[in-house]
């Protein structure tokens, strides 16, 4: 109970910070959109191929943007050692983890939502299964990225070469969630006659359960010096 209250307070801080530094958020969103444009050119402007792969482009865009958002989220903690100030207040490491991870989840979700209309405009992709399932995919995928992302961004933030280290650690780790999120999102766009959407969302859900638990358990090891 205490953990929930504390996490909520940390989350409130995260959101306030994102809001105060919203120029950064806008830049991250723009970055994600720029990747969409790049994919269009890399795909040779082939309409059919672009539509077919739009779910993949969406998630790679979100993943690339996530390294920026995650890195920034931890930079503000380590720049003046604010995370230590939190720990000494004292706030429990698990609460810091959950607060920050949920904050990152919401940022990624927002980036994804901003990208959706562009997917329709650029790639002519329309969600045949409806917007609800689409948002569900976005939510599950963002949650799956943000838990290991927060943990590894914290590791990377305090090591040397953090900009390289975060993607190096994170990308192999989130391959299963990229696979599952892309498959699920693709089904929402292309239609789901075989009823496979649930299985992929199930994988994402299981991935989240494991990584959100492991992250909460291990976070104290990472932040306590």
């Amino acid at each position: 109970m205490e953990l929930i209250l504390e996490s909520r307070a940390v989350l409130a801080k995260e959101l306030l910070h994102v809001w105060r530094a919203r120029a950064r958020l806008v830049a991250t969103g723009t970055f994600a959109l720029a990747t969409l444009l790049l994919f269009s050119f890399a795909g040779g402007l082939n309409d059919a191929a672009l539509r077919e792969n739009s779910a993949g482009y969406l998630w790679i865009g979100i993943l690339l943007a996530s390294t920026l958002a995650l890195g920034e989220g931890l930079r503000v903690e380590t720049e003046h050692n604010a995370i230590e100030m939190l720990l000494l207040l004292p706030v429990s490491p698990a609460a810091i983890f959950y607060g920050k991870a949920i904050g990152n989840l919401l940022v990624l979700l927002l980036v994804g939502i901003v990208m959706l209309p562009f997917l329709t405009v650029l790639f002519d992709a329309t969600p045949t299964e409806g917007v609800g399932p689409l948002l569900l995919c976005l939510f599950a995928g963002s949650a799956a990225i943000s838990a290991p992302g927060t943990l590894h961004a914290t590791l990377a933030a305090r090591a040397r070469s953090r900009d390289v280290l975060l993607p190096l650690l994170l990308f192999p780790l989130v391959i299963p969630c990229v696979v599952a999120a892309v498959q699920a999102t693709h089904l929402v766009y292309a239609g789901d006659p075989m009823d496979q959407l649930g299985s992929w969302l199930g994988v994402l859900f299981a991935f989240c359960v494991v990584h959100w638990s492991v992250g909460g358990l291990l976070y104290s090891r990472v932040v306590e010096d």
Partner: protein, 229 residues
């Protein structure tokens, strides 16, 4: 007999294989004020950070008010070099955060007034000068008003009025019965009101004795006191 405010037993801390602090045993009684001095790199900062449980000791143990340091965090205030502020948030936001997350009494307005930041409280900390950042850190310390106060170089970056302010603040903490550990190079100044002084020497506890011995003409006094020891 009450528990000592700080009880450090054979404390050591290693960074990248090097001992920054080694084999320090220290007892500080409740209400006592202690001056920690020593050359740059002698381990003052590391010692204070270990006592505050900001970092864990590699060897030995620390108890604060009879509890392991890590469980006594709510009773300890640490003022360190890194001030722990969020740059994009305003001064007031930063304090509100501390109040909410640390379950502290909401005396933000009074505290802002006290540190002289009331007029700029709504501005983002990004625009603060080094001295203002320091004052904001003091404001957080005042909100917490802990029974054990650890201050690392509190005079750095402050103007003369600020120095005066730190002296008053320490007197106030002491008057309330708090234990104060202060690490500084302003030996002569702090020795005027401290009970005891300890000197760190290459990570180990060097000379330690009554602060009064350092009061007159500090530079000579330190040397003389050490010679006697």
């Amino acid at each position: 007999m009450p528990d000592p405010a700080i009880l450090a037993t054979a404390v050591g801390r290693r960074f990248a294989g090097r001992w920054a602090v080694r084999d320090v045993s220290l007892t500080v009684a409740q209400g006592e004020s202690v001056l920690v001095h020593g050359a740059n790199g002698s381990g003052k900062t590391t010692l204070l950070r270990v006592l505050a449980s900001a970092i864990s000791p590699t060897a030995g143990s620390v108890t604060v008010l009879g509890k392991p340091a890590i469980e006594a965090r709510s009773k300890v205030g640490l003022l360190s070099h890194a001030d722990g502020h969020y740059d994009e948030l305003s001064g007031r936001d930063n304090l509100e955060l501390a109040v909410k997350l640390g379950h502290l009494p909401d005396r933000i307005d009074a505290v802002l007034e006290r540190v002289g930041l009331a007029a700029r409280a709504g501005d983002a900390v990004r625009g603060y000068s080094a001295g203002m950042r320091k004052r904001l850190a003091f404001a957080r310390l005042l909100l917490k008003a802990p029974p054990v106060v650890l201050m690392d170089e509190p005079y750095a970056a402050l103007d003369p009025a600020g120095h005066q302010f730190v002296d008053e603040l320490c007197a106030e903490f002491s008057a309330q019965g708090a234990t104060v550990l202060i690490s500084t190079h302003q030996v002569g100044r702090v020795a005027q009101w401290c009970d005891r002084a300890i000197r760190m020497d290459q990570g180990r506890l060097g000379w330690s004795g009554d602060a009064s011995e350092l009061r007159t003409r500090p530079a000579d006094a330190v040397a003389a006191a050490e010679e006697r020891a």
